[in-house]
């Protein structure tokens, strides 16, 4: 009915995807297939397989990926079950902690764990003085601990939602058929939450594979593909772009493999229950009650610990890297004098990303939700690709594509904005498409039959109805945009450094006070945006995923 307008939107969507996704990915692929003199060759892939260092990084990536997956499943599963089925005191506080864990950048997590359990860590030193030896947290186990406590909210939020949506009659039916409670859980509840569990696990897995900051800071020589790619790219002597791009391709391939694997696994497991009989939370007493509360609060506090530590350390007195007893605002003062540019950049870039992603995402979301054509289905599935691309890969791809004329963007603010934009676009499209699916198409038709043109009907009826959802989605985009590290780290130059980049540099320089203060600023900004989003659309932690 509005062929003109929606055709233009379709063309625009493809132009964006080709310009910001296909071309960079194509450049990465081309670069990985070239030798130094530009001939087509598989030498880079051969070298990837033959070099022990890369093989180790590949295996390590799988180890941290699945380790993070298992850790998140265990922690998230326990949390989900306790929170959905047992009355936990202060459950709002617990879910607040889960949100804190989710939005604090992972490298802050790594840093805070180092502060407590590193070689000179607070907790470790205290325990040592009591005669209890624990090894410093560095290495594989450190990475896995950080990942588990950082990514468990994915599993927890998705699974607790699913657990809360199981019709109680199903479990009562199983009970009346004579099943023991344990068999009932295994036979009824578990299969019903499996899709949510596996979707949450997939998110944990993909983020574990893609994460760059944590292995870099806490790995101490434990290298994964993401860190290898960054090292190869950024080495001052002998920077090797074609090897970095080869690793990028391997990383994308891995992520895609897992996404399709999860989809294949849960392809049959879509259950539509009716919610006549909502499950109730049980009130435990005595020892089991204590165990449940200890488990929930331990996981929640450990997950939120990095954010809390950062806030505390940000107000400790420092001079340079050395902390002094007592509290003060030295670190914030230093940000104000030296790093105001980074704060400004972060805000500017994030607002630009939000403006872009909300406009473009809403338009494409409408296209995907309302025009069921081959084109929009293809568009929807192509948008899955940036969803699984690790940030470091996006960064390297943008360098490979936009380093030289005709499109020379490296070193500009625009390239950082665009790199964050394309990574966030899939979320925005999905959230506006799902907001739109809540609005019955007959609503617009009613307005049309009452005498409004299709465009007027869309503006007067549909837009007001989806606006709260769109603004809330924008707020959440702001949170991801302002916390983005890995692609910015590849793309920044002195003048375009953002807060996460500065935090990363400060931690590497041992300037923990500054890092903590910047992290706290980030957390406050993120928290404000999330609060605003929840006010607009109702509290729904799952919107953060």
């Amino acid at each position: 009915m509005r062929p003109g307008f929606w055709t233009i939107v379709g063309i625009l969507a493809w132009a964006i995807l080709i310009g910001l996704l296909v071309v960079p990915l194509g450049s990465v692929l081309l670069s990985s297939l070239q030798d130094a003199s530009g001939n087509v060759t598989f030498a880079n892939y051969v070298r990837f397989i033959e070099t022990p260092r890369f093989r180790t990084a590949f295996v390590n990536t799988l180890i941290v990926g699945f380790g993070g997956l298992v850790g998140s499943l265990v922690l998230g599963g326990i949390m989900a079950f306790c929170m959905a089925r047992i009355e936990i005191r202060g459950s709002r506080l617990v879910s607040l902690f889960a949100i804190l864990a989710l939005v604090s950048p992972p490298f802050i997590g790594a840093y805070s764990w180092i502060v407590l359990f590193g070689s000179g860590g607070l907790v470790r030193q205290t325990l040592m003085s009591w005669g209890i030896f624990i090894p410093p947290i560095f290495g594989l186990w450190g990475i896995l601990i950080v990942f588990s406590f950082k990514f468990y909210p994915y599993v927890y939020l998705l699974t607790s939602g699913a657990l809360g949506n199981i019709n109680r009659s199903l479990e009562e039916a199983a009970e009346s058929l004579g099943m023991t409670p344990f068999r009932r859980v295994m036979a009824i509840s578990f299969p019903l939450v499996l899709p949510a569990l596996s979707a949450g696990g997939l998110l944990a897995l993909i983020h574990s594979i893609a994460d760059f900051g944590t292995p870099r800071l806490i790995g101490r020589g434990f290298s994964v593909l993401a860190t290898e790619a960054y090292t190869l790219y950024s080495a001052e002597v002998g920077s090797n772009l074609s090897m970095a791009t080869t690793i990028s391709i391997v990383l994308i391939f891995l992520s895609m493999l897992f996404v399709f694997g999860q989809r294949y696994m849960s392809r049959r497991n879509v259950y539509h229950g009716n919610l006549i009989n909502k499950p109730v939370k049980r009130k435990l007493t005595g020892f089991p009650n204590v165990v449940a509360h200890v488990a929930v609060y331990f996981i929640a506090l450990a997950g939120a610990m990095p954010a809390i530590i950062a806030a505390i350390y940000s107000i400790r007195r420092t001079s340079g890297p050395v902390f002094h007893p007592g509290f003060g605002l030295d670190s914030y003062r230093r940000i104000l004098y030296n790093l105001a540019g980074a704060v400004q950049n972060s805000l500017l870039f994030s607002f630009a990303v939000v403006a872009l992603v909300v406009t473009v995402g809403t338009l494409i979301g409408c296209l995907v939700a309302r025009r069921q054509t081959v084109n929009s289905a293809l568009l929807d599935s192509t948008l899955m690709v940036p969803y699984v691309m690790p940030g470091i890969v996006v960064g390297i791809a943008f360098v490979a594509a936009f380093n030289a004329p005709p499109v020379a963007l490296t070193g500009t603010a625009l390239i950082i904005i665009l790199s964050i934009f394309i990574r966030r676009l899939p979320y925005s499209v999905r959230s506006s498409a799902s907001a739109l699916r809540q609005v019955s198409p007959s609503m617009e038709e009613a307005a049309i039959s009452l005498g409004y043109s299709p465009v007027q009907a869309f503006m007067k009826v549909t837009v007001p109805l989806i606006l709260p959802g769109i603004i809330a989605g924008g707020m959440l985009s702001f949170v991801t945009a302002i916390n983005e590290l890995s692609s910015s780290l590849v793309l920044y130059v002195g003048g375009t450094a953002t807060m996460p980049v500065r935090i990363y540099i400060a931690i590497n320089d041992g300037d923990y006070g500054t890092a903590a203060a910047l992290s706290t600023v980030l957390l406050v900004l993120s928290g404000t945006a999330i609060y605003a989003a929840f006010r607009l659309m109702g509290r729904d932690e799952r919107a953060l995923l």
Partner: protein, 350 residues
């Protein structure tokens, strides 16, 4: 001169799927016209084509002598009532009803008066300032009706407006809709799959099946004189028997074209020796007796086929045990005959 004419409406989605296949209807001014059929028969597609929400592959639609096809849907001046109400949740009841008047730039005082009148008609005056979410389904649909009527449309379209309501409310609102339509004197096209609703509300009914018109007629014609086996079985209930059952039905010389016999349960009764003159008798054994209050159904296994007979106002003490012998009686002229293609044919000589 008919008011609304649809000629040869055809909608082809793909080679195999013909949602509409050469449908022609003509609706008079003031007429309550119902499109009746099972889901997927094309009735909603036809309604949406008249509203302008879906384009016909072929055919033409004309309203009050002017062709409708080139006019975009928002300029057609056709009121529509939706199955899911489509009440705007962000506007109050009053604002919902005034919505279409705003598009027409009706002056504020007149808008207020017309909204008040429309709300009075659907008995929602007290709810004017409320948001629709607080209202029941029936009330929401009355908003939908008021909103569509207040613009004084040339035609009122209703797409299964009552199917989401519970049974009691459905009957009340259906009478209300009928009264409003007659008071205002507007042509209305009503889509439903509920045959009882169609019989109760319509001036004329168009029964559709698989994209085609099966029969158009008054409720009496549709029910008592069905022209196809589809209409006969879809509207009301029908016993159907194969051609070979002819001797048992008193048809000694069936016409050559007869393929299926049909007779309604209410035309079959328990045989009573004193009053069965001129009726055909058939014997059998009771298989099931179902008591429904104002009537009862008795399923009887006979030599011809299993037959359901209806007993009006059954005595509470009346009962039949399975297997007991029973005799049924019916009039020969109540037996309808259909050919192999399902069209009604003369039954032939007795």
């Amino acid at each position: 001169m008919t008011y609304l004419t649809v000629e040869n409406a055809t909608k082809i989605y793909s080679e195999k799927v013909r949602a509409l296949d050469g449908v022609s209807i003509a609706v008079e001014r003031d007429e309550f016209f119902t499109l009746l059929g099972p889901s997927g028969c094309g009735k909603t597609t036809l309604l949406r084509s008249i509203a302008g929400f879906s384009d016909l592959t072929e055919g033409r639609i004309a309203l009050a002598g002017a062709r409708l096809d080139p006019i975009p849907s928002h300029k057609r001046d056709i009121g529509m009532v939706f199955q899911d109400y489509a009440v705007f949740p962000h506007l109050t009841v009053g604002e919902n009803v005034a919505f279409g008047l705003k598009a027409r730039r009706v002056p504020a005082p007149e808008t207020a008066a017309r909204v008040a009148e429309a709300l009075a008609t659907v008995r929602l005056v007290d709810y004017k300032a409320r948001l629709p979410a607080a209202l029941s389904g029936g009330q929401q649909q009355r908003i939908g009706l008021a909103r569509a009527m207040v613009i004084r449309p040339k035609l009122l379209l209703m797409d299964e407006p009552l199917s989401n309501l519970d049974a009691k409310l459905r009957v009340d609102l259906r009478d209300e809709i009928r009264d409003i339509q007659k008071t205002v004197g507007i042509a209305a096209i009503y889509v439903t799959h509920d045959q009882e609703e169609a019989l109760a509300i319509s001036d004329r009914i168009c029964v559709m099946n698989a994209g085609r018109v099966e029969q158009i007629g008054t409720p009496q014609e549709i029910y008592a004189n069905p022209q196809t086996i589809f209409v006969a079985t879809f509207v009301g209930t029908m016993n159907t028997l194969p051609r070979e059952a002819a001797p048992h039905l008193g048809m000694t010389e069936p016409a050559a074209s007869v393929h299926t016999w049909a007779i309604r349960p209410e035309h079959i009764r328990l045989a009573r020796a004193e009053a069965d003159a001129g009726r055909v008798r058939i014997e059998g054994t009771v298989e099931k007796y179902t008591y429904l209050g104002r009537e009862a159904h008795i399923l009887v296994e006979t030599a011809a086929a299993k037959l359901v007979a209806q007993i009006a106002d059954p005595a509470p003490g009346l009962s039949f045990s399975a297997g007991s012998p029973v005799a049924l009686a019916f009039r020969r002229e109540d037996v309808l005959a259909f050919d192999r293609q399902g069209a009604r044919v003369p039954a032939g000589a007795a």
